[in-house]
């Protein structure tokens, strides 16, 4: 991994912990498909020992909104085989407030707070509202394409 992704913390670290925003999942399997989003998800299949995934309940619910029942069943099993779904209420309220003060909307602030709370290295998103806040954070905010470039 290149040195500009949290160099001090990640040196020699076995796993890279990622949180993928809803848009990454959706763009991975729903047209207009973004190949970079699909490739980020494929990382967990190709190099599962290198990458670890975390997901909050709210992202699962958001993905569910765009799937019919049998599709969502596949998504749920796919996620369940990779990680455990974290309940939203576990994330400290104060952490969300911290990101709201920084200018994120409440819901985006929650995702940022969740990413910090799980100690993730990277939040992968195509959401420009997040991407413009990528300064002085305990994690990196990257698009799928940038994420792939950095970790490959």
């Amino acid at each position: 991994m290149k040195s500009f992704v949290k160099p001090a913390k990640n040196s020699g670290k076995k796993n890279l912990l990622l949180v993928l925003d809803t848009n990454i999942y959706v763009f991975a399997f729903t047209p207009p498909i973004k190949p970079s989003c699909r490739s980020v998800i494929s990382l967990f299949g190709i190099s599962h020992s290198k990458y670890q995934l975390r997901i909050p309940r709210t992202i699962v619910e958001e993905v569910r909104r765009n799937l019919v029942q049998n599709e969502f069943r596949e998504f749920f099993v796919f996620i369940s085989e990779l990680t455990t779904i974290d309940e939203d209420f576990l994330v400290p309220f104060e952490l969300g407030v911290k990101y709201e003060i920084r200018g994120l909307k409440m819901v985006d602030a929650f995702i940022a707070a969740y990413t910090e709370w799980v100690g993730a290295d990277v939040l992968v998103t195509e959401n420009r509202h997040f991407l413009k806040h990528d300064r002085d954070l305990p994690f990196k905010i990257l698009t799928a394409e940038k994420c792939l470039k950095i970790i490959s």
Binding site: F27, A28, F29, F44, G45, L53, E71, F78, T83
Partner: protein, 57 residues
Amino acid sequence: MKIKKPNAKRAMQHFEKLCQLVSQRKSPFEGMTDEEVIEKLRKTREELWEKKLASRT
């Protein structure tokens, strides 16, 4: 927090099945640009959040 040991192979089989199922129907985002899709997803996020907050008050 307890983290489940992943089974990547099985996970990817389900992911591929999901991709296959979704490709067989009309996309809810047909005709939209990437940016419009992202905005739609943000709206869904806000709606779900508002519902969640309303159920707690």
